[in-house]
């Protein structure tokens, strides 16, 4: 597989009044060309922080990306890029769409102009060409009457349309990687499906790699190639979508799977609600961060951080249950069968 992005030991901290909040605690992963990788986890688990850090969108001094973090785009170190290179990377090589299409578009600029900006900047098009291209992009994301809507202001479009505009804007320069941060969360369910279908279609058409950030496992089932489950700023389990859905090993992943209605209610089992809240990331946490909420918590879980165990080439999990001395427990799948 042709590797386009390599992230190693990424650490992001927020400096707040109360102290240093370590939002991302050593996340590593790779992304292949044209591949779709999903980050899944509850809010505040560091998914968005990771995504933004890849493009270095955080601004110091309140947010710090630790110096030993490595982000390589196509073999080039993003952390060491100068301002100029970084600007040409953003939007051209890697682009991003955000959760709320209501606030992510400039209210006082027509959508056409907002799409044209990137085209003029990165591809050196003149105004007329950029406008032509913007109309093409709008057509591609299936905005009706693109020739007319290119001059619309964001408030004249519906939420779903605005998210399409965001997608058009992000894909205008045909980046190699698209980071989609909860792209459908703010939309109606029916619109969600449409937007996801569109993303899927464009992805194959343009061979763009996608990092999909979401808290909803349901969204990724038909969409992602690989999934990494994040908890408290760390990756607790990773694997192909199939592996995560059918052979998950981490109790947290089970809990997430259990909260997807379609999966959980097959057996008229009650929807499972995870108790408690994720740990405060201001804490040092030198043991399994999930220990306090884990049904299968063991003594060791509260004392030491589990190492990542490789189950297959692609499937890895960080959990003490994988230790040879650990008892066999009834998994999510066993329970479901009952």
């Amino acid at each position: 597989m042709d590797r386009i992005l390599n992230v190693e030991n990424l650490q992001v901290s927020f400096h707040t009044y109360a102290g240093e909040v370590r939002a991302v605690r050593g996340v590593s992963f790779e992304l292949g060309r044209g591949e779709t990788l999903a980050f899944v986890g509850e809010s505040g688990c560091g998914k968005t922080a990771t995504a933004k850090a890849i493009m270095r969108l955080w601004k110091p001094p309140f947010v710090e990306i630790k110096s030993d973090s490595v982000v390589e785009y196509n073999g080039e170190d993003v952390m060491k890029m100068d301002k100029k290179r970084l600007q040409s990377l953003r939007g051209n090589d890697i682009s991003m769409i955000f959760q709320d299409p209501m606030t992510s578009l400039n209210p006082t600029m027509t959508v056409g102009k907002q799409i044209m900006e990137g085209l003029q900047l990165h591809r050196g098009l003149n105004k007329a060409q950029a406008r032509e291209e913007a109309i093409n992009m709008l057509r591609m994301v299936k905005i009706p009457v693109p020739e007319k809507n290119v001059d619309s202001y964001p408030h004249q479009l519906s939420g779903g349309m605005r998210q399409r505009v965001m997608i058009a804007m992000a894909l205008a320069c045909q980046p190699s990687i698209l980071i989609a941060d909860e792209p459908t969360t703010a939309l109606d369910v029916t619109i969600q499906a449409q937007v996801l279908d569109l993303l899927q279609e464009l992805k194959t058409q343009l061979n763009t790699a996608i990092i999909l950030v979401t808290h909803d496992l349901g969204v990724i089932a038909n969409f992602a190639d690989r999934v990494q489950v994040m908890y408290a700023g760390q990756v607790v389990e990773r694997g192909t979508t199939k592996e995560i859905f059918n052979e998950a090993k981490h109790p947290y992943t089970w809990a997430l799977l259990n909260s997807v209605p379609a999966l959980a209610t097959e057996n008229k089992q009650e929807l499972y609600a995870l108790k408690g809240t994720p740990p405060d990331l201001i804490l040092p946490l030198n043991h399994c961060p999930f220990a306090a909420r884990c049904e299968y918590c063991m003594g060791i879980c509260r004392e030491q951080m589990p190492e990542e165990t490789t189950l297959s080439g692609t499937h890895k999990v960080s959990c003490w249950l994988e230790h040879p001395n650990a008892p066999k427990v009834e998994s999510f799948y066993d329970r479901r069968k009952k």
Binding site: Q87, R90, F98, T103, P107, M109
Partner: protein, 309 residues
């Protein structure tokens, strides 16, 4: 849109009517009549003629109707203290002078203030921000008349660079403009800074950054327009302030502007003059507010649509 404008104009006329009526009755509620001190010495007959000339012998309501009728013909009456001087004429000859001084000061002050505000916001927490904030706060905390005294002492008495007061030559403009600028600069830099910081926090700024725009382009293309919009509000009220805010400045520099006459007429209890000037101010203010609304719809596409519906 047309319907919207008509509605606005009607509302404006109503407001004007209420304001003028209120002012009229307020002024006429002043105990004692305005001619009393002057007329005391006059023989009975002359006094009556005098009262009749100003319509003061009629019941208040009749005077009111008369005043409103005259107002419709843009006639504000004549001065009670200076025979033969019409209020309208005085306003017409003094307002442009105030407008000139205030206008220059407002333009310079706004330009400098906005620039400083932007500079402060972009350097939030660093030294330019601190310096600008302190200057801005100082600018608003020193009373104008103290500032003028200091300026006159320094530039005129000590250094002899500028005339301490007077009117007629361009050099007379320098000090008043400087003084009036300071307040404007202070207000705008504070305002723009706050509004700019708020805009910089918006999601679409992040979108622009993710698009690869340079910080300069982000500011010029996305942030400025959205953060200067609220500043239009204060720009309009400071346009009225050109006339109202300059009472003290005009008096201390002996500039024959409208503020100068307003103070004089208050001190002399020249009620028709006070009344006329107040009406002038109110009209100006209300019209400006409407202008503001229209400017707003021009620069903010969101309102443009809402107004059209």
């Amino acid at each position: 849109m047309a319907k919207y404008i008509v509605k606005r104009v009607l509302a404006m006329l109503l407001t004007l009517f209420v304001v003028v009526s209120l002012t009229f009755f307020l002024v006429h509620a002043i105990p004692g009549d305005p001619l009393a001190s002057m007329a005391k010495a006059l023989p009975q007959q002359t006094r009556e003629a005098y009262y009749a000339r100003y319509g003061l012998d009629k019941p208040v309501f009749e005077q009111y109707v008369l005043y409103m009728k005259n107002l419709l013909r843009l006639d504000l009456g004549s001065s009670l203290k200076f025979a033969g001087r019409s209020v309208g004429g005085t306003i017409a000859s003094t307002a442009p002078i105030s407008g000139l001084v205030g206008g220059i000061a407002l333009l310079i002050g706004t330009a400098v203030g906005v620039l400083l505000g932007i500079l402060a916001a972009l350097n939030k927490g660093k030294w330019p921000d601190q310096v600008i904030r302190v200057v801005a706060i100082l600018g608003t905390t020193i009373p104008v008349f103290v500032l003028i005294s200091l300026f006159q002492l320094f530039f005129a008495v000590k250094m002899g660079w500028l005339p301490s007061s007077g009117w007629g030559k361009p050099i007379h403009l320098v000090m008043p403009v400087m003084v009036m600028c300071i307040g404007t600069i202070a207000t705008y830099s504070r305002y723009v800074r706050t509004s700019m910081l708020e805009t910089l926090d918006q999601d679409y700024v992040l979108t622009a950054r993710a698009k690869g725009l340079s910080e300069f382009k982000i500011v010029t293309r996305h942030v400025l327009r959205n953060s200067l919009m609220p500043a239009v509000t204060i720009f309009v009220s400071s346009m009225v302030g050109i006339f109202t805010g300059a009472f003290i400045t005009e008096q201390m520099f002996s500039i024959p502007g409208i503020g100068f006459y307003y103070i004089t007429s208050i001190n002399q209890r020249d009620y028709t003059m006070v009344m006329g000037t107040t009406v002038f101010y109110a009209v100006l203010f209300i019209v400006m507010q409407m202008v503001l609304d229209i400017i707003y719809t021009l620069i903010d596409p969101r309102i443009r649509v809402a107004g059209g519906k």
